[in-house]
Structures are given as C-alpha cells and as structure tokens.
C-alpha cells in the first residue's frame, strides 16, 4: 500500500473529548483509506466508543481535527446529519432497528419517501429494499411485510448494514456488529462486510471485542489505551499475543 501518495478518505487528528471532569478521549488519531477495513480495539473505557461517536457526529470533540476527503469538518457543523452528508453511517450493535416495523421501513428510517407530501410511497420502498438485498446477496429475507422482530439476528444485522450502504455512504462504522449473534450469523455478517467492501469499495471502521474477527476482517488495527490511540498494526505483522499486550498494557 502506498499510503503517502493517496490522500486518506478520513483523517482523525488528536481528537479529544471529556464529559464533565472525566477525559474519555485524550488523543484519538487515525487515518482511513478507501476500501479499507480498520479495526479499533481496546479494553472497556479505553475511549473507542467515544472516538467513533465523535466520528459519527454524535459527540462534538473538544479539540483536534477531523478531515474527510481533504475537507476539515468545522466544529459548528459537527452533527450526525452532517456526517451522514459526508458519507459516514453507523451500524449500532443493538440500537439500529425498529423491531415492530418492516425491513423496508427500517432501511428507509429517517428517509421515508413520500407521495403527495404525506403518504408513504410503499412501492418505492419495497423496490429499493429488494435492490439492496440483492446487492448484498441476502436471499433469506423474502417477506417484506413482516416486522423485522420475526427475523433472525443475522438477517436483522444485514438490514442494518444494508441501511448503512444503501445511501451511497463511503464509510460505515460497525459498532460490535456481531456481539449478539451466534457463530453462523457472525459468519454471514462477516461475509457481507467483505462483499460490500469488494464490490462497492466501502471503507469500514470496526469496533469489536472479538480479536479473531478483527484479524480476519481488518487490514489495520488501531489500539486505544487510556483514551489514546497508542498503537497501530498491520494485519500481517500482528500476533494475538502482541495485540492482547497492546490492549491491556498499551505497549
């Protein structure tokens, strides 16, 4: 990889954030390139959640810079909707979907197409949903009139990821995407991530406690320790041992 020649898609520089008197994030720094899967790992409270929430726009950072496609995000415009406009979507581990609503509704969450100003354009929603599911190679979701609570965890996560990529976003943040899933469903979601990356060139930021998964999916791994992004590894240079040491001791 020739990092120097290519401008990074996303560059996070010395970002900090504190809540009340607690400094959750002291120095968050990383770069993300097009089509790359970057994992952020760290023990609980190491600041990785805060870091991705800042990137997602949910928290406004106290200091530091976030540059997307060469353009710095002004602090005043730092919001979820601005980050979405910049092409950043988040798949939250358990808060991503409305369980009693259908797959099309969830895919279009916050973007429901209208007819005559007030009516739901259901046909458009169904067509687009079929399109997205086909793009994702998800064949198991057939009945689009069922609430998604009647689907398996893997299918639900597919729809959550489908929502993240359906609107042409460049960067998808996966927050513990398989924490609540069984082994088969985990494999299904991992296949989906690989697939989307290959076909759409989407970049992923993966937050995971599953170090095997991290080593399977990620090109690079950033370790956060005590609110600092302390180490960075390439997939080929990392062993589980070193990773665990970096996570627990910060070395």
């Amino acid at each position: 990889m020739n990092d120097q020649a290519v401008q990074p898609l996303l560059s996070v520089e010395n970002v900090s954030k504190s809540f009340g008197g607690v400094q959750a994030l002291r120095d968050g720094t990383f770069e993300l390139h097009r089509g790359e899967v970057l994992a952020i790992v760290g023990s609980n409270g190491a600041g990785k959640s805060t870091l991705i929430k800042v990137v997602a726009g949910a928290h406004v950072p106290d200091g530091g810079r976030i540059v997307i496609n060469g353009k710095e995000v002004p602090r005043a415009e730092h919001s979820v909707s601005h980050m979405q406009e910049c092409g950043i979507e988040v798949v939250y581990q358990d808060l991503a979907l409305v369980p009693n609503m259908t797959a099309p509704y969830n895919l279009f969450l916050g973007r429901i197409p209208r007819k005559l100003g007030i009516f739901v354009d259901e046909r458009k929603m169904r067509e687009k949903t079929r399109e997205v599911l086909a793009q994702l190679n998800v064949t198991t979701v057939q009945d689009l009139s069922q609430p998604i609570s009647s689907m398996s965890g893997g299918q639900q996560q597919s729809i959550a990821i489908g929502r993240a990529i359906a609107w042409g976003s460049d960067i998808v943040i996966l927050d513990e995407p398989t924490a609540a899933l069984g082994p088969n469903e985990t494999a299904e979601v991992e296949r989906l991530v690989e697939d989307v990356r290959e076909r759409h060139g989407t970049s992923f930021i993966l937050i995971s406690h599953n170090l095997d998964q991290v080593r399977r999916l990620a090109d690079r791994i950033v370790v956060t320790h005590h609110g600092v992004t302390s180490r960075e590894f390439r997939r080929d240079e990392i062993t589980s041992d070193r990773l665990v040491k970096a996570i627990t001791l910060g070395e």
Partner: protein
C-alpha cells in the same frame, strides 16, 4: 383445550396466531348472538340498532384519539375532561360567533392535547401522570368557566326566555341523530384509517412505539413528533366533543365523566397492546361497538347497571387474555 390429536393438529401455532388476529371480530359476533338469544327482538330491532349507531360514534372517535397515543406507547387519560371542555367551548363559540363558532370546540381539544404533549416532552413527565393531572385540572376549569351550569342547544320550538345559556341550532341537533351522526362517524373513521395506515405520520406512530431511541439516533425529532401526536389526538377529542354536543343537545360540566376509561377499553378490546408499536383502526371500531353493544344488551336483559359494569370488566380481561400476543410485548407490566 383437550390434548386430543385432532386439536393438536388444528391448533398449530400459526393458526392460533391467525385466530388471535380475529378475536375482536369473533368477540363482537358472539356478543351479538348472545344478546339476540337472551332478549330476542327487543335487542335485534331496528330501533335498538339505531340507538347503538347513535351511541357509538362519540366513543369511537375518542377511541381513535386514544389509539394514536397508545400506539406511540403513551396514554391519554385526560380525554373525558377534555371532552367536556371542548363541548363547552364549542357551545360558547356558537353563542359568541354563531354556528361557525362550533369549530372552537375542536381547537379547544387540540389545545388540551398540545399542552399534554408539551408537558410530557419538555418536562419529561410520563404521559400517565401528566394526563391524570390534566384530567383533574381541565375538569375544574370547565366547572369554573361554566359556573356549574350547562349551555343548551335548542331547535327553536321552545323559547326559553329566562334561560340565557342556550343556542338555537336545529341543524346541529339533527346532526346528532341517526343517520347523520353515523355518516359523520363513518367518514371520520375512513379518514382516520387512511391517516393511520397510509401516511408517514401514521407509520411513525408505530415506529415511536417500537423503538424511540433508534428514531432519535437517525435524527428524527421525536420530541416535536410527540407534541404533534397529542395535539392530533386532542383535535380528535374536540371533534368527538362537537358530535357529543349534537347528540346530547347540551354542554354540561359533567359531560364525559369516566369516558376516558371506555376509550381505553375500546382500544384494548380492539386487540391493541397498550405498550405501543401496534394497532388497528378497524379493530378499534369493532372494540367501540362491542363495548356499546354489551352495555346496551345488558340493560335490555335487565341486568342492574353495577353488575353490567362488572360484566364489562370481565369481558375486557377475557378479550385481552386471548388476543394479546405476548411475543410482541417484551415485558408485561
């Protein structure tokens, strides 16, 4: 259910699920058949059904208001007082501005709803407590404003010279009779169905009831939405109040006492879980009719009013026990 092979095959989980969907329809059919068997033609007469068709609309509209709120996972128990307040302001409006002043009644309901919504959303007080407080406050306001007296709607034939609090509006009184009241109710029901099933707003009612946090995460302003929901429900209560004014021919300070409970019961009889996320306009209509028919049937059968209340309560528990799909409700509390 006996554990015979036949019943095991007939009652597959999928069929039980389907059956559950039809509980409100089965319940109303059974109730009608039962009263027909008990009271015969006294129940199954044109006259009695005209009476039922006249009795149900107000409750039905109130149940629609309740349905909207309940679908989002909240509850509105202020609607009985709001009904009295709205009817009174509607009548006052007619006194002040003539016939068109009746519209004031609708807006009065909308105002009470909006205040509910503002308190719930901005002060973050649960809807049950907020609307309970409003139930008390608004009823008191009606009594203060009306000074305990009623405003009558007259058809002009009786000239009550000494009674200053009366409005001559024969058109309104005829609106309160069958078939006009029934046609109005049918039109409102159709519009409500379209609103609830086909609009983005209606869909969002269910989504808020399903998982409010997700909607906030994707940037939907749930706070303003809830204020709108309570205001919309309030407008519906205001409309119900105007219909009630037409039917009763008077705006009294006691109007709508305890009717909030009937409205909630009608929604529940329609198989809508009070925990939010699901609901049906058609089944709510069935629920409102079931409630009216049971009350009417028991009266005709000669059951004393107190016992008929007991019977209604039992019916409510039975209907919910059968129709509530517990797999759709996380925690029963």
């Amino acid at each position: 259910m006996t554990e015979t092979t036949a019943s095991r095959q007939i009652l597959t989980p999928k069929r039980v699920e389907m059956l559950r969907e039809y509980v409100p329809f089965i319940a109303i059919a059974l109730v009608i058949l039962m009263f027909w068997a008990i009271s015969g033609d006294r129940f199954m007469s044109m006259r009695n059904w005209t009476f039922i068709a006249q009795q149900t609309p107000v409750l039905m509209l109130l149940a629609f208001a309740q349905l909207m709120v309940v679908t989002t996972g909240s509850i509105d128990i202020s609607i009985g007082s709001s009904l009295a307040f709205s009817a009174f302001l509607g009548a006052l409006g007619m006194l002040w501005f003539g016939d068109a002043g009746l519209i004031l009644g609708v807006f009065a309901g909308g105002l009470v709803g909006m205040v509910n919504g503002l308190i719930i959303s901005l002060l973050k007080i649960p809807s049950f407590v907020t609307t309970l407080a409003m139930l008390i406050i608004v009823r008191a306001v009606v009594i203060i404003v009306s000074d305990g007296t009623a405003i009558y709607i007259t058809d002009g034939s009786v000239s009550g010279g000494t009674n200053i609090s009366s409005v001559t509006a024969p058109w309104l009184l005829s609106m309160g009779k069958f078939p006009a009241i029934f046609i109005i109710a049918a039109i409102v029901a159709l519009l409500t169905w379209i609103f609830y099933e086909k609009t983005v707003f209606g869909q969002q009612l269910r989504a808020v009831g399903g998982n409010e946090k997700v909607l906030r995460l994707v940037g939907i302003n749930v706070t303003t939405f809830k204020i709108k929901v309570f205001a919309a429900a309030g407008l519906m209560v205001g409309l119900a109040a105007c219909v009630n004014l037409a039917r009763a021919g008077a705006a009294t300070p006691q109007a709508g006492l305890m009717i909030e409970l009937d409205a909630i019961a009608a929604v529940a009889l329609g198989g809508t879980p009070l925990t939010g996320g699901y609901g049906s306009v058609v089944k709510t209509i069935i629920g409102a009719f079931t409630l009216t028919i049971v009350r009417n049937g028991l009266t005709i059968a000669g059951v004393p009013p107190s016992w008929s209340q007991v019977a209604l309560g039992v019916l409510l528990i039975a209907a919910i026990a059968i129709s509530l799909n517990r797999s759709k409700v996380d925690v029963v509390k």
